[in-house]
């Protein structure tokens, strides 16, 4: 064992039953290919991807089917070979239960690969821009759940230099074990990915933060580090075992825990010289750089008392969740809720007829005892237990009062947007107030207000421009008239001015009348 590194504990947090044993006992299983793969164009934070295939096109595994449209966006690739049968609205996994545009591929079962870009085993001599372009091409997003495009995150130029790469392997949320088994089975890939990222961002060292309930994974990583090909200039990597305390896997919490540096409120980790990546994302980077493979599959945990055979599955992205669950053994009779994500931060699905996306790390088929129906909400007694457990050191009860009173300015004054929605406050609340639900309500209301404000500002600008334009046109018309009149006056000044003028007016009136008549005829016939 390495000597114990100094840790900087964060405020609050909860000791929860981790329920990891249900799903991490067996190795990762592969799942059969479904008949249809459904790929939402928006599986990431940022602009939605733009389809580059049409209905009827044949696609091969790994082929680009939707292109990133903006800097903050992510491309999508075909997870298997087949034919595009539909591009249109389909239900997506989202708390709203709404639909969004998806590309639907009917698989042909051949699973034949498209031509892939060349592997870059010599990445140490590659240009940083080329490496970023490869990550961007692969459509890699944060696989811990946030789904922020990784190519954007690793572009640290123009910021203060990054000295430390923090790898988030804490997997602090109960039930979820996909990162745990990934580290056990692909520790070497994790280390390869870290070397690539360290090289790319120029980090001096890398710290892997892992909770102490995953000793096998930590050991596998240590072995992989020890077995690294020696001789090159790779930076030191250290596995740091941290106590199991939810939410140690929160990005800012983990960075504080490992480095003692506090990411500023509203700031990015780069502000304190740190880049944080989820361990599964790192493996995806290794796949893209060393094997030229895009992100088309991931490991997902299927667990809970409502699942017959809990475990971890390697699944093609776009696989319908009902198909996936059936492959995993189906539901047991205890099924009550299907939660996408963990019990603390995940959201309930209304239906399992939605696809698995890049960000899906866990499907918790929860029994009634695991996620009991919420108890009736009682008035807040201000006991302050919520503030005691809040890892962002907020005052949750004040946020709640202001959110409930729809006083959104006040809620923002109390730093609503520093809330990471970890759920600790609601977990401990003796009055059973769904605090996080109030914060989410307030946040989305504030965003809606901002959208409305932007829209009305745009409308005001356009209206003002239009008024100005109309005025200008009117002025110009008047000026033209004046000029004409003056010209006429000067021309016919000596000869019979009156007659000429009259004739001109008459002619103009005739023209107008004719035009009007023509218009009437035209609109009448239509």
């Amino acid at each position: 064992m390495a000597e114990q590194r100094k840790l900087w504990p964060f405020h609050g947090g909860l000791h929860l039953d981790d329920h990891k044993a249900e799903s991490n006992a067996s190795p990762v299983r592969s799942v059969a290919l479904p008949r249809r793969l459904i790929l939402p164009l928006q599986q990431h934070i940022g602009q939605r991807a733009e389809p580059v295939v049409s209905v009827g096109d044949a696609v091969r595994k790994g082929q680009l089917i939707a292109q990133a449209t903006d800097y903050v966006s992510a491309s999508i690739h075909a997870p298997s070979s087949g034919r595009v049968v539909e591009i249109g609205a389909a239900p997506i996994p989202h708390p709203s239960g709404l639909s969004d545009t998806c590309i639907v591929i009917e698989t042909d079962g051949l699973d034949s690969w498209d031509e892939l870009p060349a592997a870059m085993p010599d990445y140490r001599n590659a240009d940083a821009a080329d490496l970023r372009e490869r990550i961007r091409w692969a459509g890699i997003v944060g696989l811990g759940g946030a789904a922020f495009p990784t190519a954007v995150k690793v572009n640290t130029s123009g910021q203060r230099p990054i000295d430390t790469l923090v790898i988030n392997a804490a997997e602090c949320e109960p039930y979820i074990t996909c990162d745990d088994v990934l580290m056990r089975e692909q520790a070497a890939d994790v280390i390869d990915g870290i070397d690539i990222l360290s090289h790319l961002i120029g980090a001096r060292e890398c710290l892997i933060g892992i909770e102490d309930n995953k000793p096998e994974a930590a050991e596998a990583l240590r072995r992989a580090i020890a077995g690294r090909a020696s001789g090159h200039d790779d930076r030191p990597i250290e596995v740091v075992v941290v106590p199991t305390l939810y939410p140690s896997g929160g990005e800012k919490q983990l960075i504080l825990l490992l480095t003692g540096r506090e990411v500023p409120s509203h700031g990015l980790p780069a502000a304190v010289g740190v880049l944080c990546q989820n361990v599964a994302t790192v493996v995806a980077v290794a796949d893209a750089v060393l094997r030229g493979r895009p992100l088309i599959e991931r490991i997902v945990t299927v667990t809970g008392g409502g699942a017959k055979q809990p475990g971890n599955l390697r699944v093609a992205i776009g696989t319908p969740i009902d198909f996936l669950i059936a492959q995993a053994g189906g539901y047991s009779t205890h099924i009550n809720q299907l939660i996408l994500g963990g019990p603390m931060m995940g959201f309930g699905l209304r239906s399992d007829k939605v696809p698995l996306t890049k960000a899906t790390n866990c499907l918790l088929a929860a029994s009634r005892t695991e996620t009991p129906n919420s108890q009736p909400e009682r008035p807040c007694i201000r006991c302050g237990e919520c503030a005691r457990v809040c890892p962002a050191q907020l005052l949750p009860q004040h946020l709640y009062w202001h959110a409930r009173a729809r006083d959104f300015d006040k809620a923002q004054e109390y730093n609503l947007f520093d809330c990471i929605e970890c759920g600790c406050c609601a977990y401990v609340c003796p009055a059973h107030i769904p605090l996080v639900a109030y914060y989410r309500f307030a946040k989305t209301e504030i965003w809606a207000q901002e959208r409305d404000r932007d829209k009305s500002d745009l409308a005001r600008r356009r209206h003002e421009a239009r008024v100005a334009r109309l005025e200008r046109l009117e002025q110009e018309r008047k000026a033209r008239l004046r000029q004409k009149k003056e010209a006429l006056d000067s021309k016919s000044g000596k000869t019979g001015a009156g007659d000429a003028k009259k004739a001109a007016i008459e002619a103009a009136m005739q023209r107008v009348a004719a035009k009007k008549a023509a218009q009437q005829v035209e609109s009448g016939t239509e």
């Binding site: 997506i92 708390p95 909400e377 009173a405 946040k443 809606a448 409308a459 005001r460 356009r462 239509e526």
Partner: protein, 185 residues
Amino acid sequence: MIAAVLTIAIMATLFGLILGYSAIRFRVEGDPIADQIDSLLPQTQCGQCGFAGCRPYAEAMAAGEAQINRCPPGGEATMIALAELLGRDPVPLEDVEAAEKPKSVAYIVEEECIGCTLCIQACPVDAIMGAAKQMHTVIVDECTGCELCLPPCPVECIHMHPLETTPLTWRWPFPARTGSEGAHG
């Protein structure tokens, strides 16, 4: 007696000078009230208030010539914000029915459009593209849903489509209170 009067007079002069000086020195160059009102209005430019757009309505309210309850697109929220800004009492909306209409955008049935440009002239925010004898279309992102383009259309090919909620614009609902002391606060 004279001393007291003199004292008061001197003090009055002194304070008057201080007040006068600070009025000049610390003058607040705030937004004129009409600008502040205008920034609260939804800028649909729909004219449902009876004025020729948001700005004229704002100016009328600033001058105290118009009620604060005549903006249906803004709804109750705008009325209350106006009441707060102007220090007036909230009043019920004049046209509740119009305020409850869902937000919509105009949509031109392009096969029916004859390219008469009348709607282009009516649109207060230049959100309709097209030219004479050419089919027109609405720039959805810029349409305010004011409906001013509907009456001029000779062939009634413009329809209002309610704005659909997408996963990006979806809002979490206000948490349902399951407790018994429901109406607290």
